[in-house]
């Protein structure tokens, strides 16, 4: 079932490119169950134009 068809907000297709950075690697070595590693591993950056198209506001759930 196309669940998206029931959503009122507009949808966009995104390609997620994953990568690590030095801060995430350091946090993982220090504690892979720590808050710092979790915070650095759970971020998706979006282009400002795409964010505008989604018309989401700060604090809203997007997925």
């Amino acid at each position: 079932m196309d669940f998206g068809s029931f959503l009122a907000a507009p949808e966009i297709e995104v390609k997620v490119i994953t990568y690590r950075d030095i801060f995430q690697d350091k946090a993982m070595l220090e504690n892979r169950f720590g808050e710092e590693y979790r915070d650095l591993s759970a971020v998706i950056k979006l282009d400002p134009a795409d964010l505008k198209q989604l018309s989401v506001k700060k604090g809203e759930t997007v997925i």
Binding site: K15, Y19, R20, D21, I22, D25, K26, L29, E30, R32
Partner: protein
């Protein structure tokens, strides 16, 4: 009274990544590392990795070492087709014991290179690609390409110690005048930012076409791509590459994951060496993945994904960790210094939860938390010594920085062998 300055300094090797930096100074007291000099952010974290007490568990209950070893041996003995996986952060000596162990118990043996840079390591070991050492790069390289890799983050001292910023014996004017750094990637990484105007951003999976276009540009033809990359920019890149007296291509997973096979890369290296002088070095992540590939190749003729069976060896993708877990062909797993539950997709790694797992690791991981047997070992390169193969194929020996009560993975594997 002033103390005489200590002119004799002890330099240690950092085993935090495939660079194996050998100029690290450490201050330690009572077998705790207090200060680390010269290393990068990741290296410092690696050498100061927080340690718990010596820790052996069976079914999540603390046990002594002998009980853990006995249980591990019993799991391996009773398995029809056990998997041995990991070893990228183990010494050559440990890897050779693991190969012997795999032979003894007719195991499937694999390491992370089967889903990382394995094909490239195999081609280099078989002399199918021209390579050089990082010392050659520092002393001679004038054109450096970072393709699908971001060493500023993954191998933080790569640019400063070896590839771009240093003044080498034949490159005294350094990066300002004598070196050109090029980045080809799907995103503007920190390394790409350093490369400035020589950053070529391509779409995901666009590498093969970019290679074809670059080969066309190098051959004096008009470079074309379906994603309309400006031909002028590709021709500009081709001209830089043609002028290289000592060029190096550093290849990362970004490029390898994008290619169906290595043929486009072979073609590119061939034409680059017809027009100029180019070498290739893989951007190996773990400190001794190259060692595993070399050691297994010396023993079997393959770099990963093997299955031992009564003195014979089989090889193929079906013996990789990904395919053997997918097909559920392995019925026990000995994981050494790796965390498949973290690094593999859940749809594949979840099958590991259905079989008994022995985790041999220096720290608690998702895999160790779900293992039937957990054996906490010394940190290889910090608390135990040995030798390893650097990402460019150079052998590096290292001594432990501090002493520990934790056994090394080498000792643990020997004891498991004896218990069998």
């Amino acid at each position: 009274m002033c103390e005489e300055p200590d002119m004799e300094k002890n330099y240690y090797v950092c085993t935090g990544c495939g660079l194996l930096c050998d100029d690290i100074e450490v201050e330690s007291e009572k077998n705790v590392v207090n200060k680390v000099y010269t290393a990068c952010r990741v290296g410092v974290a690696h050498m100061k990795e927080t340690r718990g007490e010596v820790n052996f568990r069976v079914d999540n209950k603390p046990v002594d070492e002998a009980t853990a070893i006995k249980e591990a041996a019993s799991i391996l003995k009773n398995a029809r087709n056990p998997l041995i996986f990991g070893l990228g952060t183990s010494t050559n000596e440990t890897q050779k014991i693991a190969i012997e162990l795999a032979k003894k118990i007719n195991a499937t043996l694999d390491d992370p290179s089967s889903f990382c840079l394995g094909p490239l390591a195999e081609a280099l070991i078989q002399d199918k690609l021209k390579t050089c050492t990082l010392d050659d790069v520092r002393n001679k390289a004038d054109v450096i390409i970072y393709w699908g890799t971001d060493p500023s983050d993954s191998h933080p001292r790569h640019l400063s110690k070896h590839s771009y910023f240093p003044r080498g014996s034949e490159k005294q004017r350094g990066w300002e005048e004598e070196r050109t750094a090029v980045a080809i990637d799907v995103r503007k990484s920190h390394t790409a930012k350093i490369c400035g105007n020589y950053f070529f951003q391509i779409p995901p999976k666009g590498d093969t076409e970019f290679i074809d276009a670059l080969i066309a540009g190098l051959s004096g033809k008009l470079p074309k791509t379906s994603y309309n990359y400006p031909p002028k920019k590709i021709l500009e890149l081709a001209n830089i590459l043609k002028g290289a007296k000592f060029g190096v291509v550093f290849v990362g997973r970004g490029l390898i994951y994008s290619l169906e096979n290595l043929e486009p890369l072979f073609k590119l290296m061939k034409i680059l060496n017809e027009k100029a002088n180019f070498h290739l070095i893989p951007m190996v992540g773990n400190y001794n993945t190259m060692g595993f590939n070399e050691n297994l190749f010396a023993e079997t003729g393959y770099v990963n994904s093997v299955k031992f069976e009564n003195g014979t060896v089989k090889h193929g993708p079906e013996y990789s960790i990904v395919e053997s877990l997918k097909a559920k062909t392995v019925d026990a797993a000995l994981i050494i210094g790796s965390d498949p539950l973290l690094i593999l997709p859940r749809s594949i790694s979840k099958n590991m939860l259905e079989i008994p797992v022995i985790s041999v690791d220096n720290c608690e991981t998702l895999t160790s938390k779900h293992a039937k047997v957990y054996i906490n070992t010394a940190i290889s390169g910090v608390e135990s010594g040995g030798s390893a193969i650097r990402m460019d194929g150079v052998k590096v020996n290292f001594e432990p920085v501090i002493e520990t009560n934790n056994p090394s993975d080498e000792v643990i594997l020997k004891k498991i062998m004896e218990a069998l």
